[in-house]
């Protein structure tokens, strides 16, 4: 059965490109463009991997990540964070919030594909999370 990825991003053309790349790789890709309702969307779709942009209308990616981690249902769900600001400060903030993987825009198609595969690669979601070396969640 195909695995599900939820892309939370508000740039239409980035959504389109990522959706295409991942669909071609066999993923079911759901998208969500609003920050405020993003946590609810994760709860509704229960994806294997969440791709989360930092700059979203309504709520920042960091806040969404913190709320996800606080919820036992999503505490160990792999989250790949995308940001246009690669500063250490942002990376540290994402790591403190419990990110599984952090990626700076502009990334290449193969990078994001590999990242999503790696995050979902392990048979169990929890193992994938542990393999990413993060233990803060």
């Amino acid at each position: 059965m195909a695995k599900r990825v939820l892309l939370i991003e508000d740039e239409p053309n980035i959504i389109e490109a990522i959706r295409f790349i991942l669909s071609r790789d066999g993923w079911i890709v759901d998208t969500h463009a609003d920050g405020a309702s993003a946590v609810a969307a994760v709860g509704a779709k229960m994806p294997e991997v969440v791709i989360l942009d930092v700059m979203l209308p309504g709520k920042s990616g960091f806040d969404i990540l913190r709320e996800l981690r606080a919820d036992p249902a999503h505490a160990k769900r792999p989250v790949l964070m995308l940001t246009a600001r690669g500063q250490k400060k942002d990376r540290d903030m994402a790591e403190a919030a419990g990110v599984s993987l952090f990626m700076t825009k502009p990334f290449s198609n193969s990078e994001i594909l590999e990242a999503v595969r790696a995050l979902a690669g392990a048979p169990d979601v929890n193992d994938a999370h542990d393999a990413s070396g993060d233990s803060d969640g």
Partner: protein
């Protein structure tokens, strides 16, 4: 007599430096070696022709033996040495006086370069601060990076070949076109913005004040009283600096109206540099009288007058230095200054004789007052301003307090007010005896 005693020490230093024997120097100026020895060990007053002869023999200016003219230069050098953190050869801080004395020009260059480096560092800090916090810049960069991300992904898809549905292909081509348009206008906006930023000169936090100060230097801080003259502001490029200069000029104009030249001259003739006497004669407040005295043009036979003004946070907002007294360019000054003592007790006039470290120690008479900057109100915090007038002190009757300029270059190692360690390794000590 600190002044006299230090002159002797200085003569001895200079003589040793020049490699001249005591007996030889004594013979050249027509005194006995024993007498010179007494002078050098501060047992005899010296002045007049003998001092001039000694200075000539030692190839130095008389003032270099008597005044602390070099002190700010030496403090500057010590500060420059202290901020030098790497490099295999450490500056010979124990020989700083020798360096300043023998190579005054080079020493001045070192100090002016230190000032410039400090200014540039602050500018860089302000710029990077701005880069990190400027909302427009952050949005514009985000926009460009997002667009680049979309273009890279889309182009990657089209480029890798493989089966792409014709409908999708059309869509991706359209997206590419749209995004390239967006990128073009986004980067154009960014360039335009950066261009204006560079030109306005407003980007560095301290820049307007620095520009204002530089402008004051060209105007001659001492030149006053002034008329509202737009031309005088012509040299100022930033609106902020122009505003500061305008405010200052309008203050001076008010002061000059309240205290006309003739009145000021009369008061000085009768009482010397005395802000209380001028305030009394004119009905002005003490701070205004201090400003008025500080901006008088230099005149023959009149003691030089310096002034520093700070706001309630202690930040210096105006400085006019006099020889031997150079308030720090950046950062806070010495908390022992009467300026700050006045700040602690608003409306209470402070008069102190202060001693600045160095060889010889420099003594100044300081008057200070802290006054409300705006009329007091019930619904906002008090806004005050402290003003300190400073003039060289010749007398010997008053009790003195020892102060510094800023902790980093101050040799008073055990000062209770010290906020950071002194970077001067060895405190200059007077030698005791032969």
């Amino acid at each position: 007599m600190p002044r006299t005693s230090l002159t002797g020490t200085r003569i001895r230093e200079r003589r040793t430096l020049a490699g001249v024997k005591q007996a030889e120097l004594a013979r050249n100026v027509g005194i006995s070696p024993a007498y010179l020895n007494l002078i050098e060990h501060n047992r005899r007053r010296i002045g007049g022709k003998l001092l001039v002869d000694l200075a000539r023999e030692l190839s130095v200016e008389v003032t270099q033996l008597t005044e602390g003219a070099q002190a700010p230069l030496i403090e500057g050098l010590q500060d420059a040495a202290s901020s030098q953190t790497q490099g295999s050869i450490a500056p010979e801080t124990d020989r700083v006086e020798e360096f300043a004395g023998r190579f005054a020009g080079w020493a001045a260059l070192v100090v002016s370069q230190r000032d410039r480096i400090e200014g540039l560092e602050r500018r860089i800090a302000a710029l990077s601060d701005r880069l990190a916090h400027d909302p427009f810049l952050s949005d514009a960069l985000h926009e460009v990076l997002s667009t680049v991300t979309a273009i890279r992904s889309t182009a990657g898809i089209l480029n890798t070949g493989g089966e792409i549905d014709p409908e999708w292909q059309v869509r991706f081509h359209r997206n590419l076109y749209e995004d390239s348009q967006r990128l073009a206008s986004g980067s154009q906006a960014l360039v335009t913005y950066l261009d204006t930023v560079g030109r306005s000169g407003d980007e560095a936090g301290g820049a307007p004040f620095e520009e204002f100060e530089a402008w004051l230097d060209t105007q001659g801080r001492a030149s006053g009283p002034v008329s509202e003259d737009e031309d005088r502001l012509a040299g100022l490029s930033t609106p902020a600096a122009r505003k500061m200069a305008q405010a200052w000029l309008s203050r001076l104009t008010d002061d000059a109206l309240a205290m006309p030249d003739a009145m000021v001259e009369d008061v000085i003739t009768a009482h010397g540099i005395n802000p209380a006497a001028l305030a009394d004669a004119s009905g002005s407040d003490l701070a205004a009288a201090m400003r008025r005295l500080a901006v008088l043009p230099d005149a023959e036979g009149r003691a030089p007058v310096g002034i520093v003004i700070c706001d309630g946070s202690g930040t210096l907002s105006f400085r006019k230095m006099i020889e031997g007294f150079a308030p720090p360019r950046f950062g806070a000054a010495c908390p022992l200054w009467p300026l700050y003592q006045a700040l602690l007790r608003p409306m209470q006039p402070v008069r102190r004789v202060i001693v600045l470290p160095g060889l010889p120690a420099r003594r100044y008479l300081a008057y200070a007052i802290c006054q409300p900057r705006v009329p007091a109100r019930f619904d906002m915090p008090e806004v005050v301003e402290a003003t300190m007038l400073i003039t060289p002190y010749q007398g010997a009757d008053d009790a003195t307090i020892e102060v510094g300029t800023s902790c980093r270059v101050c040799p008073r190692l055990n000062c209770a007010a010290r906020r950071e360690p002194s970077l001067i390794m060895a405190t200059p000590e007077l030698e005791s005896d032969i």
